[in-house]
Symmetry: C2
């Protein structure tokens, strides 16, 4: 029983270490690609997240998707607004909120970067994994992602 449990712990830690390694290698690779047009990958991530939501998003909504503190996200959006890629529209229902939308320029840039980056991602992953393995990776990742609520 003890050894079973220890083995399972070890298995989980080995898997996590391997996953971190893969994440690191791929992130290095993608960051080095010359497709970002002066944006950080995090900044692109915000553009991408906004591009998927047709309704305007609030800062807090984006915070759930991006691995960044609330003040960090606030200033990141500042930069995107200054570059003319995102616009803050006042919310008539809640004057505190600043609804965020992609500008046309922002949407166009997101698409350009998205195409190039998507091609890089595909090249990196399809050269190493089969279709079945890709689907498996997705399903395992989704199982790990779901359910952010527990620990009372």
């Amino acid at each position: 029983m003890e050894t079973r449990t220890r083995g399972r712990t070890r298995l989980a830690n080995d898997a996590w270490e391997a996953a971190l390694g893969a994440h690191g290698v791929l992130m290095r690779r993608f960051t080095a690609e010359d497709v970002w047009h002066g944006l950080t990958m995090r900044e692109y991530d915000v553009l991408y997240t906004l591009s998927k939501c047709d309704s305007p998003q609030r800062l807090g909504d984006l915070g759930g998707h991006v691995l960044l503190s609330q003040p960090g996200l606030s200033r990141l959006v500042d930069r995107l607004v200054e570059r003319g890629l995102v616009s803050r529209c006042a919310d008539p229902r809640d004057a505190r909120a600043a609804n965020l939308t992609l500008t046309d320029e922002g949407r166009a840039l997101q698409r350009r970067i998205g195409r190039a980056h998507g091609a890089s991602v595909a090249a990196a992953l399809t050269s190493r994994l089969t279709d079945e393995e890709l689907a498996l990776l997705e399903s395992l990742s989704l199982k790990l992602t779901i359910d952010p609520e527990e620990l009372p």
Copy 2:
């Protein structure tokens, strides 16, 4: 043929997005845990990497494992040296290199953090994946990690 290729690209991108999501959720969770004794996860990562190598390591060796620029790693090690967790020993064979070793205190701290963090990792992963899935995640991650050489 075209549609097959496009489907495969889409599959790879969906898998990568899911993997990024899982990475983000778990990193948030682990970062929030109160097990780090004032260290960054990156700083712990360096301690952990050093703890696995019995022979002293050079900065460049660590650079391969940690997702950090060379100057960033240099200063990160500065901080660890100042905290008494790592020592720089001169290399008699190459006066440029500064061989890095864990101090006793550094090794002890790494073990303490490693135990607690390892338990968190195990709790997070084993609650969502079976043993077979954990092994699968590890093997997929390793396939994605191997081979940092190409693009001439």
